[in-house]
Symmetry: C2
Subunit: 501 residues, 2 copies
């Protein structure tokens, strides 16, 4: 076969895999949204069967041979084709090293530990989870060593989520961020000591049907295409893509408008990215999201940079009043205080923009320590308490409010946490670059016109797929490699508003 013929064959196979993966995504989505409770076990089995099949197809020897052949003849391909071959070969290079027995043992361990985590939280006792967490750490070390024994295990794990990144590259970024956050947290504490923040403007009674309608319109106005997607409800909001069908979920609090709205805007950010991927390249790396960090940058940009801004609320507040007449006399300033409320807290998912990244940096350092042996599983609760005291001046009284709060490690996701803060860093850089590129962006947002910003993101991020890895993608979009400066500037401005209130 000519390289062109081989490449065409290769794309046909990639797309077959993508079509099967779409069925898997739909089963997972359904499980979190509409599936009746009594059939959990059979659904788990169906998902297992299909996942095994997709894995089998992806690591089928004939397909691997095709990819190897293309990789060896990459020079004969055009640059676009090279991207697809390079990224597919890279990912398969990881997967093919793990034999089926190891893959199965790993996923069984994750499923089991996830159940134990639920129980450990119920009885509020980390000791229940500890032996399983130890097994997970051992397993992940083994997986990393099998994939690439020549590199630090943590980096191998991290690249599952953020290819092209390493602990050594992240550490100075996070250090700079932490150094910049310290004085901000001190200022926040001083502000809170002076007087309580009046942040209740969006609390009250908000009928669920009105919230559903309002949230749908917001997602639509931000640019989400409902002819190729949905917005439903789930206990833990998430989004997924079934082929080219992007499904968002949110969750409403009848007494707090913020809860559902920011979940919706966050997931809409993920959804806009997915809907903005190059449709002509579907099923290939060029038509696939770049990394978890870049994905999170899109959700965070819309949620925090746009959705909590004064410009955006100049548009949103009149819209919200159409659905919730009780907001008729609520001022823009009061709403901005409500959506930018900040205070040190114990729980990551409830943290504000100022303190959120300190929760992540803590986890990033602890999980590195777990993998390289500097931190013992048994010491996690005490180390956690020390670090929380140091960073946020708070000490969890229970494991549930401390080391047991997140499911990630118990699900085997080690190396995932840093992508949250990378997303925040990227988002601030992107917003800063977009503001520089687009005249009067704040005025555009205030008039409900999100199109220019979305277009800019489409061009600089969405359409790029996996042509570059995250650091290079950010550099091309913003003129600078990842750096915490714009995020710190953004947070400093937020804090100044709180200080004036």
């Amino acid at each position: 076969m000519t390289p062109r013929e081989s490449y065409d064959q290769f794309v046909i196979r990639l797309r077959q895999h993508a079509d099967l993966a779409a069925a898997l995504r739909l089963m997972e989505w359904d499980q979190e949204t509409f599936m009746p409770a009594g059939i959990l076990e059979s659904r788990a089995r169906q998902i297992g069967a299909l996942a095994a099949l997709v894995h089998e197809r992806q690591t089928d020897p004939r397909f691997l041979a095709l990819v190897d052949d293309l990789a060896a003849r990459a020079a004969e391909l055009d640059p676009e084709q090279q991207v697809d071959v390079r990224e597919t070969a890279w990912r398969l290079g990881r997967e093919r090293r793990l034999d089926t027995a190891l893959v199965r043992a790993r996923s069984e361990l994750h499923a089991q530990a996830r159940g134990v985590w639920i129980e450990a939280r119920r009885v509020d006792d980390f000791a229940v989870l500890a032996p399983f967490l130890q097994r997970i750490v051992d397993m992940e070390r083994r997986v990393a060593g099998t994939i690439d024994p020549s590199r630090p295990a943590y980096d191998v794990l991290l690249e599952e989520y953020e290819p092209g990144m390493s602990a050594a590259a992240i550490a100075p970024l996070f250090e700079g961020l932490r150094a910049g956050l310290r004085p901000l947290v001190d200022r926040l504490r001083a502000r809170l000591e002076r007087a309580p923040l009046s942040s209740g403007a969006l609390c009250g009674d908000f009928a669920l049907d009105a919230q559903r309608h309002f949230n749908r319109i917001v997602a639509e106005q931000l640019g989400f295409d409902f002819t190729r997607g949905r917005l439903d409800e789930a206990v833990h909001p998430f989004s997924t893509t079934i082929g080219e069908d992007v499904r968002l979920t949110t969750r409403y609090d009848p007494h707090d408008l913020r809860y559902g709205l920011y979940a919706t805007i966050h997931e809409t950010g993920h959804g806009l990215y997915e809907q903005g991927l190059d449709r002509h390249a579907w099923g290939t790396p060029r038509g696939h999201a770049c990394s978890f960090g870049i994905h999170e940058s899109q959700s965070r940009l819309w949620e925090n940079q746009v959705g909590r801004s004064a410009g955006c609320w100049r548009h949103l507040l009149p819209l919200a009043r159409q659905f919730f007449p009780q907001l008729a006399n609520t001022s823009l300033d009061a709403v901005l205080l409500a959506v930018n409320d900040a205070r040190p807290s114990l729980i990551r998912t409830e943290a504000d923009e100022v303190t959120y990244n300190l929760h992540i940096i803590l986890r990033f350092e602890l999980e590195q320590g777990l993998v390289d042996g500097r931190v013992a599983v048994g010491d996690l609760p005490s180390v956690w308490r020390e670090r929380m005291q140091q960073d946020l001046g708070l000490v969890p009284q229970t494991d549930r409010d401390g080391v047991l709060q997140d499911v990630h490690w118990a699900s085997g996701a080690i190396g995932y946490f840093p992508t949250y803060t990378l997303g925040n860093i990227y988002a601030a850089q992107l917003m800063s670059a977009a503001e520089a590129a687009l005249a009067d962006l704040d005025e555009q947002l205030a008039s409900g016109d999100f199109g220019a910003l979305l277009h800019w993101l489409r061009e600089h991020i969405h359409r790029c797929g996996q042509r570059e890895r995250a650091p290079e993608l950010i550099r091309r979009a913003t003129g600078s490699l990842p750096t915490p400066g714009p995020l710190l500037t953004h947070l400093d401005r937020k804090l100044a508003v709180l200080e004036r209130a």
Copy 2:
């Protein structure tokens, strides 16, 4: 391998196929319920990919060899195991004869003709569909000849839906039914000439949310288990089973309570059958519905025999009044007239119980004629008109109200129609047998107690799976092979009520 070991292997494979088929069912369900409109094409492709895969697995040479081996050693298996091997071998015996190219050509033709059917209906011109229908008839003849050249082509096609049945077995049943229906239709006409039926008791304004709530409670009271199923809405109500998760759909008319209610009860009947199958035998023929006709008997039994009865409405009317206060002064007699309204009509799906089967018998005879060449495709509209005049005294003025009204033939489903009337025949026999077996069934229904009837059906139909084919299953449950007598008795009673009104 011992026969036992082979059998165990065989069941593992069957269940793997069932798990993959579940994903396929979910994609189809989603397409009809929640899928956004703009992604139809990619969904069709995903369904195609998964369907091809399921077919590939089912006809995998190693699996076929396993089944052949078991079939050859069937005498060494226990009777339960023999059922699974016999039925699987029988179905595979059909599928394996069709090579992949033929399967693909056939399904492409069906998809294409379905699109043409929509267009032919839009322009109301059978000539648009005719060439495609001719190709479908030719294709189905070829398929039948490939599966079994020794038998009449129509019988081979029919057995796809009703194994163990043949045109020769059905013809006398349907002839007897038609002979019995003629005087009933004459009586109905006479009744309608005397005075219009006052059948508007359940027409008015019925809020959709109240209808949703009411219908869900009805399904639940009939015995549908919502922890293993759902009730949603679809343009064309249907039900499907995803593993052990049974999903019903219905469709509400805001001005007529009957529309949604009888769609719900009908689909609940299908759903109760699926939920009553032997769960320990899931994935095998013993845990699978017997035939399309038996399936339809379950929906029809609950819809017509139970749901339109005086006993049932003694319970339903007070329940309905809780949701629809406007029914406070509506009498039971008025409701019974409304739900048993009958009049000759052109459209099968709108036909009443008395005339419905005449629509089916017409189609049964025409499709046999198409397959054996006695009826030319081009003559269908005129033959249709003649027969409608003869049977119902009505002549469609358009193809849309005549030969173009059903999608079945254009979808390649030839041999499917008789299962509707077989279902009605079986349902009347089963209800008659249940009434004989259960003391005071009418009183039980009147008190909202559907449990004894459901239990009887579970025992005599649901739990049996494919242990017997439909005629034998009916004989064991009712003491008589399929016969139109009980259905005619049932319709005679219905008519007597109308005649008294």
